[in-house]
């Protein structure tokens, strides 16, 4: 069982502990963009067939929208969490913290590419 580091020791961490000031993204803009692309997606769905697999063009359109969401969200996540990579315990390093931050987003990009290759 891993030991707890001082940063996570109950005696030193309280519910008001803030280790860094995190930059806040332009959330209203991000949210507005997100909702706009969602509405576009709904329109794409209406334009495609009611049932069954959508046409190649509709699938590309959906993929572009998905990519936009992943890119907008992913870049903002990296921007806001980049300063949170300080290792907290002996079980963590700056390298692992960076890996844990980037790995899921890299996987998301890989899925987008994989999906695009499937359509092509």
């Amino acid at each position: 069982m891993p030991s707890l580091g001082t940063s996570c020791n109950p005696e030193t961490v309280t519910d008001v502990t803030i280790l860094a000031t995190v930059p806040r993204p332009s959330v209203p803009v991000t949210c507005a963009v997100g909702l706009a692309v969602l509405l576009t997606t709904a329109a794409t769905a209406s334009a495609s067939s009611a049932t069954g697999v959508a046409s190649s063009g509709a699938r590309w359109a959906v993929l572009v929208i998905a990519a936009a969401l992943v890119a907008v969200g992913g870049l903002a996540i990296i921007r806001t969490m980049w300063g949170m990579r300080a290792p907290l315990t002996p079980g963590a390093t700056a390298g692992t913290e960076t890996l844990w931050l980037l790995l899921p987003l890299a996987a998301g990009i890989a899925l987008l590419v994989w999906t695009g290759m499937g359509i092509a």
Partner: protein, 303 residues
């Protein structure tokens, strides 16, 4: 009271069988498993492109419950030290002394071993192997390593909770395709906004136990931002089954509507400035969201 003295009850130390049975079930965390099993069943429909056989579903459900239940039991064995500290978990069977840690571990291991056999003989050995992989990820990657060492614990550890759709898919086809990977990804990217909304409510517990959950280390405001950002990414990922051609318009419309509501919840959570109400609303909505999304996927494949 421990399991050892259950077999030799005394008037002062009596442990009725039904109480023991109840505690053994409590150790498996049945409420959590129900959502995992729903994703398993819906993935089976998607893999079969229709309705899979009833027996296949039953074996997958039984084996899936045993696998997840075993993992949850082992998790409580490992986390019994911090469970005793947190008010939310201090009444769990091991911490309360109703079942000994050793017997709980044995119960968990038996469940996992049995789940491999049930899934292997009842469905496919690929499903059994994937189920075992899920247990290993949950116990070793999440519980033993990441949970106490990094704020990214539930992000990477979420891979364990995303395995059930793979199990369901493999139970039908005997292997995995890209469609299965996308279902895994949906649950994986759903986990951060879901769990961080919960962590906002349980921050004091996690803080007292020394678990470096995001709100404990970087505060509520940073966590609320991350809930919104990960929700945006998650909504994008949920569109991929349509782009990949494994889901159609029915799923897409439902995914868009549910995703828009999730974004609204996350946005309200961000604006709430410390109100616990929106964290609770977002958390509970996230549960319904995943269930409805997977049901929509199943309906789409049957329609």
């Amino acid at each position: 009271m421990t399991l050892e003295n259950v077999n030799t009850p005394t008037p002062a130390n009596r442990h009725p069988a039904h109480t023991l049975a109840r505690d053994l079930i409590i150790l498996t965390k049945p409420r959590i498993i129900s959502l995992l099993l729903l994703t398993t069943i819906c993935a089976m429909f998607a893999a079969a492109q229709g309705v899979p056989s009833g027996w296949l579903i039953i074996w997958a459900l039984v084996g899936g419950y045993m696998s997840a239940g075993g993992a949850n039991t082992i998790n409580q064995f490992v986390d019994r030290d911090i469970d005793a500290i947190m008010g939310r978990t201090e009444r769990r069977p091991i911490v309360a002394g109703r079942i000994s840690a050793t017997w709980a571990l044995a119960w968990g291991l038996v469940l996992v071993a049995a789940s491999v056999l049930v899934l292997g003989f009842g469905t496919t050995w690929a499903a059994a192997g994937l189920s075992l992989l899920g247990v290993v990820l949950y116990v070793f990657l999440y519980t033993l390593w990441l949970k106490r060492t990094t704020i990214h614990n539930i992000v990477i550890g979420g891979a364990a909770g995303a395995v059930p759709p793979l199990v369901g898919w493999a139970a039908v086809t005997g292997d995995l395709s890209f469609g299965a990977v996308l279902l895994f990804a949906i649950v994986f990217f759903w986990t951060p906004p879901h769990f961080w909304a919960l962590a906002l409510m349980l921050k004091r517990d996690y803080s007292e136990a020394g678990v470096p959950m995001l709100p404990v280390v970087y505060g509520d405001a940073a966590t609320r931002v991350q809930v919104l950002l990960w929700t945006i990414v998650m909504v994008g990922i949920t569109l991929l089954p349509v782009a990949a051609g494994t889901a159609g318009a029915i799923y897409l419309v439902v995914a868009v509507i549910l995703g828009a509501v999730f974004l609204y919840m996350a946005w309200q959570l961000l604006r709430s400035q410390g109100e616990g109400r929106w964290a609770s609303i977002t958390f509970h909505y996230s549960l319904a969201y995943l269930a409805l999304l997977f049901v929509a996927l199943a309906v789409d494949t049957v329609a």
